[in-house]
Amino acid sequence: MEISAERESGAVIAKAAGRIDSSNSREFHSGLEAVLADDDPAVVLNFEDISYISSAGMRVILMTAKSLQSKGVKLVLCSMNDSIREVFKISGFDKIIPIHGSQSEALTAVSA
């Protein structure tokens, strides 16, 4: 699973594509860890190209959120399709990780 990263206004924007489920969640995790640098002050995870995320993928998001939080790094998510947004709502994950409609809103939120 390829994860791209670009840096903009003091945040790293990470993007993955396709389905995230138990068959590739480990790869997703290691890929995500690889693109995040220790000195990134904020992380935006862009879901634009992700079509589906299973509970195994949600677990990776949770692990990443907790590890970033312990380092004082902000994490926000953005650009989810409706069904993924619903998964975050039902599971209550949107209570602990901020979700924004677009990447620019997400960047504004982390730079605030």
Binding site: S22, S25, S55, R59, K66, S83, I90, G92
Partner: protein, 390 residues
């Protein structure tokens, strides 16, 4: 089994009764022996060769003459699989002796070289044989790993099935039914029915993150914790808060479980429930229309210690059927990669209300199977049904 690129010494057993092959082989192959690529050991007939193979498991291949006293090379070929099934043999035959070469190949020889031996060709043949053996062993090791994985999945599956209630108390005022169809790679769904005081009954449905043995273990502890909390706690909200706090202790793996826990009071028909970040239950009314039970704004358990789980109440009318389900139902995938979705689930009951609790449960599973067709499903499909009788 190592797959590193670094040169690995290969042990080759040379079997020939003629005394001149041994020094010749050592002389012509000395560069490779010195570099640690090959190590040669020698036997002088088939019997000695079998003894050597039996005693030394590190031998990778056999290079054997055909005509030898005691046991010839063709007989040796037949016997090798008994002592060393993963060994490959190369036969040295007289030039043009097609009859014996055919027999040797039919008996499983990997290749042959002819006399007088061309040592460049022999080197090439040995390397090709060793390459084949390496690939064969890698395939075996991959297969062994798959077998181990399959065994683990079987354990997880047994753990999962063993905790599910399969008999449901019969009762005049309400009926229960639950069923789970496991995914091939074993998800972590479970449901439970817990007898409480004052004729009340606790109903739980849950879905643990991930798959396989880790999910099964987390499922077991979630289920046990809930059972204890259900019996002690004042209500579903308190029960989920208690389970959540325990699950958050030492949860470095960030496992979580989504869950609905509800308590039904047959005296009043009221279902009191708390939401642990799970799909809201669906109430199918006697006329086939349905209502999603209002969610209580919950959070998956194991995520945030100290989270306060609220509880809500819903009064069932006689003939109302509550369907608790996991996302294996609504996220079932068909050949067009569409999800089944809540709308199709609700439509399944429109103008065709369930006859009883069991009928409702079977119809949910049938709906998923008809929708999915031959497409293998990623997740367990689970539902637990409560029906208030007339």
């Amino acid at each position: 089994m190592t797959t590193t690129e670094s040169p690995q010494k290969h042990k080759i057993l040379v079997v020939d009764d003629e005394p001149d092959l041994e020094p010749l082989m050592l002389q012509r192959m000395r560069r490779y022996i010195r570099r640690g690529v090959y190590e040669f050991v020698f036997a002088h007939d088939g019997v000695e060769a079998l003894e050597a193979l039996d005693a030394d498991e590190s031998i990778d291949m056999v290079l054997s003459d055909i005509n030898m006293p005691k046991m010839d090379g063709l007989t040796l070929l037949e016997r090798i699989p008994d002592v060393a099934p993963d060994i490959r043999a190369v036969i040295i035959s007289a030039y043009g002796d097609m009859k014996n070469i055919r027999i040797a190949m039919n008996r499983g020889a990997f290749d042959f070289v002819t006399k007088p031996v061309d040592f460049d060709d022999l080197k090439f043949t040995i390397d090709r044989t060793l390459q084949h053996i390496r690939e064969w062993k890698e395939a075996l090791s991959a297969r062994d790993k798959l077998v181990v994985l399959q065994n683990e999945l079987n354990v997880a599956s047994m753990m999962q099935q063993s905790i599910l209630p399969n008999k449901f108390a019969r009762n005049d005022s309400y009926k229960l039914f639950g069923t789970m169809q496991p995914a091939r790679n074993v998800g972590g769904d479970f449901f439970d029915v817990i007898g409480l005081s004052d004729e009340k009954v606790g109903l739980a449905i849950a879905d643990v993150s991930g798959k396989g043995v880790p999910a099964a273990l987390f499922m077991m502890s979630s289920r046990t914790l809930l059972k204890g909390a259900a019996m002690r706690a004042g209500g579903p909200g308190e029960a989920l808060s208690e389970v959540n706090d325990v699950l958050n202790e030492d949860n470095d793996a960030c496992m979580f479980v989504t869950m609905i826990y509800a308590v039904y009071d047959p005296a009043t028909g009221v279902l009191t429930y708390a939401d642990g970040g799970h799909d809201p239950p669906l109430v199918v009314h006697a006329d086939g229309s349905s209502t999603q039970m209002p969610v209580t704004d919950g959070l998956a358990l194991g995520v945030l210690p100290g989270f306060d789980y609220l509880q809500h109440s819903y009064e069932l009318l006689p003939g109302d059927t509550v369907v608790l389900y996991t996302d294996g139902v609504t996220e079932a995938i068909n050949a067009e990669e569409e999800q089944l979705g809540l709308t199709r689930l609700r439509e399944a009951f429109v103008s065709n209300p369930p006859g009883d609790a069991e009928d409702a449960g079977h119809r949910v599973i049938d709906l998923v199977n008809d929708f999915a067709g031959d497409v293998p499903q990623f997740d367990d499909t689970t539902c637990l049904v409560l029906r208030r009788e007339n």
